[in-house]
């Protein structure tokens, strides 16, 4: 982790917020663009789930994390609170890792 990343991300993230707040003012975005922007978290956060579950660096791998994330997904589906989801994911992963 570099300070360059921290500073550039801070500047970039603030710029994104401020563009909408100050620059665009009362103008509306084209509806198609607004629909696409609204889908960013669904697309990118899902990709992050895949990357953090099935990859190590540039290798696709199946290891203890898969069991942990699968258990966490069931917990989310059953409407478990955030803390429970994290504890289940970590616990199952640590358990599978310890016994394999």
């Amino acid at each position: 982790m570099t300070w360059t990343l921290v500073v550039m991300l801070a500047a970039g993230a603030y710029a994104c917020k401020a563009v909408g707040f100050f620059v665009l003012g009362r103008r509306a975005l084209p509806p198609a663009l607004e629909r696409c922007l609204a889908l960013i978290p669904a697309a990118v956060v899902s990709a992050l789930v895949m990357k953090d579950t099935f990859s190590t660096g540039q290798d696709l791998v199946i290891d203890a994390r898969v069991a942990g994330v699968a258990a966490a997904t069931i917990a989310v589906w059953k409407r478990a609170p955030f803390v429970a989801v994290i504890v289940i994911a970590a616990g199952v992963t640590a358990g599978v890792r310890a016994f394999s």
């Binding site: 982790m1 300070w3 990343l5 921290v6 550039m8 991300l9 801070a10 970039g12 993230a13 603030y14 917020k17 909408g20 707040f21 100050f22 665009l24 009362r26 975005l29 629909r35 696409c36 922007l37 609204a38 889908l39 960013i40 978290p41 669904a42 697309a43 990118v44 956060v45 899902s46 990709a47 992050l48 789930v49 990357k51 953090d52 579950t53 099935f54 990859s55 190590t56 660096g57 540039q58 203890a64 994390r65 942990g68 994330v69 966490a72 997904t73 989310v76 589906w77 955030f82 989801v85 994290i86 289940i88 994911a89 970590a90 616990g91 199952v92 992963t93 640590a94 358990g95 890792r97």
Partner: protein, 234 residues
């Protein structure tokens, strides 16, 4: 400041309670961010600086996740900035509602995130919308940063792999993405984003698959009526 008057207003009490509760809940996310950030090689100071200055959770998690996997600064920045772009839309919504001197609006811009915007647009009248924005934004800011500090200190004290904490990030991402899968368009974007990511992992530098997964948002281009949902989004 206005918010003192807002806190005394009895009609706004439910808004205040809901906003502070939400802020406290976000504090738990902050802890998991702190733990993950130091596991990925950040110092406690860097983790805290990120939460204080960047202050948009999904982008921070994304950047740390890419760095933790060995990605470059540029690739970590790319994915995180794509996620940060949605705050521009929130700024558009909130900029119309939040009034006052430039200094106050500059602070308001930093507080323009998922939680403050969602809590604000859920209110009926303008006074409640403003109160919900400020109280949620400030309470999330305070709890998110306290959580980050606690998590970073905790992460320094334990071995993340032994405790399975490398699975905490993807589990947290599942929790974040779940409500977005209610619409058909959201599900298609999620499936496409996942596929793009997995297909690119072996062939591109770490972080690039995350950036490219954003191409899945193009399913938002066709007009709404051409993508009927089988059940209405709630």
């Amino acid at each position: 400041m206005r918010s003192h008057a807002l806190l005394r207003d009895a009609t706004l009490r439910p808004v205040v309670t809901a906003s502070v509760t939400l802020g406290a809940a976000v504090g738990v996310f902050g802890i998991s961010f702190g733990v993950g950030a130091v596991s990925a090689g950040a110092t406690v100071l860097q983790a805290c600086a990120m939460s204080l200055l960047v202050f948009t959770g999904a982008s921070q998690f994304s950047a740390v996740s890419v760095i933790g996997a060995g990605g470059t600064t540029a690739s970590a920045l790319g994915g995180a900035m794509v996620l940060a772009a949605r705050n521009g839309v929130y700024g558009l919504t909130m900029g119309r509602r939040i009034e006052g001197p430039v200094g106050r609006r500059l602070v308001a811009a930093q507080l323009t995130i998922d939680e403050s915007t969602a809590m604000s647009v859920a209110q009926d009248d303008v006074a409640a919308q403003r109160a919900a924005f400020w109280i949620t934004g400030l309470s999330v800011y305070v709890f998110w940063n306290i959580g980050t500090l606690l998590g970073a200190l905790l992460g320094n004290a334990i071995d993340p792999m032994t405790f399975g904490l490398d699975a905490a990030f993807p589990a947290g991402f599942v929790f974040m993405v779940w409500p977005l899968l209610r619409t058909r368009r959201g599900r298609i974007a999620a499936a496409l984003g996942s596929l793009i990511c997995l297909a690119l992992v072996p062939f591109t530098p770490v972080g690039v698959p995350i950036l490219c997964s954003a191409l899945a948002v193009l399913v938002g281009l066709p007009a709404d009526d051409s993508w009927p949902d089988r059940r209405p989004a709630t």
